[in-house]
Symmetry: C2
Subunit: 263 residues, 2 copies
């Protein structure tokens, strides 16, 4: 067991914060399930750390798989592992990944045909859940505009259940999003309490086009600038006993409706 130096540990701990992630271009994920997902999507960590004494059988198997995939796994003490982990029970293993940097140009080249656009989704749990649903319902990319949570923060990675390893996440500004619609050939489907619920109309919009599905925050909805560009506003019918649905639930329901329409 080779102990980490103070500097190494300090750098790893810094990855729990946005500043550290930006400076180092790396992020952390911990626990057996999350790292199994990363492996499943062939998204390999740059490095992993384990405490062999704390690993379950399944955890030991994961570490063996990481090693045979060529990932350096360093044994560390329980104390050091806990110091770098975000949760109290990292299940004996933590890994460091390079933050992916997909090129927004690929959007303009329409490499992604079905895209979820998360507009100012600042709640990490909601963003992670939307990324997970996007992957589940065969969306090909997630685009972030406005005041978004960092998709590689520990909370988002966790609530995505590892889906961040399986789908590209691209941050662009609102102007770029507008250009994607105006010149890029994407239809824009915007979630809105004031929209239509006409399934035939929805089918027409999504059948013939590549499209962006825009989901807004609970407080503010999709921003006016984007709403002005929308090809169609879509409303999820529900009782007026509640004002609105949770943002991740609303986005996921529409993704499911779009998924069903295409099958």
């Amino acid at each position: 067991m080779m102990p980490l130096t103070r500097t190494e540990l300090k750098n790893l701990r810094a990855l729990r914060n946005k500043k550290g992630r930006r400076e180092q271009g790396r992020f952390l994920a911990e626990g057996v399930r999350l790292l199994e997902e990363a492996l499943r999507y062939a998204f390999l960590p740059a490095m992993a750390y384990d405490n062999p004494l704390a690993l379950s059988e399944r955890g030991a198997m994961l570490v063996a798989q990481l090693r045979s995939a060529g990932v350096a796994v360093q044994d560390v003490t329980a104390k050091q592992l806990e110091a770098m982990a975000d949760t109290r029970a990292p299940q004996g293993v933590v890994a460091v990944f390079v933050v992916p940097d997909p090129d927004p140009q690929e959007l303009f080249e329409r490499r992604y045909r079905k895209v979820v656009l998360c507009d100012s989704i600042s709640d990490p749990g909601n963003l992670g859940t939307l990324i997970r649903s996007a992957l589940a319902f065969e969306f090909e990319a997630v685009v972030l505009t406005g005041d978004a949570a960092d998709p590689y923060s520990p909370k988002v990675v966790r609530s995505s259940a590892g889906a961040v390893f399986g789908i590209p996440v691209l941050a662009i500004n609102v102007d770029e999003a507008v250009r994607l619609v105006q010149g890029g050939g994407y239809a824009l489907l915007a979630a809105s309490g004031k929209g239509s619920s006409d399934m035939n109309k929805l089918n027409r919009v999504i059948a013939g086009h590549d499209f962006l599905l825009a989901v807004g925050s609970e407080g503010h909805g999709v921003s006016d600038t984007l709403m002005e560009q929308s090809t169609m506003c879509w409303r999820i019918t529900h009782s007026d006993a509640v004002e609105s649905l949770n943002a991740a639930v609303a986005g996921s329901i529409i993704m499911k409706q779009v998924y069903d329409a295409g099958h």
Copy 2:
């Protein structure tokens, strides 16, 4: 401004914990939006506390409405209000409610025809979101079995967006749930990755019956004891790129499908 005594403040602070809520039979809700929802559902607090200096115009209007509904609102200092609040920004107002105690016997009398059964939903955010969706999609009650989050904890109240004020939440044990199906006349629709997605079959189950829709936790799903009683297992079709959906998303999608089937 009449300052709260130490004992009063201590009792209020204790309501942030499950033990305190159980002992006092009361819970707290804070912030203008949540309390507006409580008023909308005519669920009046036993008592409210405000800091007039911290109230927005909308907050001041809420306090006036509370007073004219007969609720005693006591002015307190910013420091005292913060001491009892769960969030850092209670927006100048906190209220104390009596924990509702709906009689499970009403389930056996089939007073509720469409019920969501949350089986071991221990994550407060997921439970709150499910309660919110239940109200949105015209379910009439939420039943909790197994290891559930406390529906009146600050986090659940918050993530329900106040829906806890608008729908009865009943905790029963699994044996009672089984009896509801075996002798109580409820059909049991269980969410399960191994179920059917045949919409005609779903329609048949829900058209003729009062029913319980059982949603399980992400780790374990609906418990075996309940699965054995199920009239139908329902699967949300999605890509196998992910193993499962978030529990609140899965439950909400099925509630929406049931809601659509009934309209």
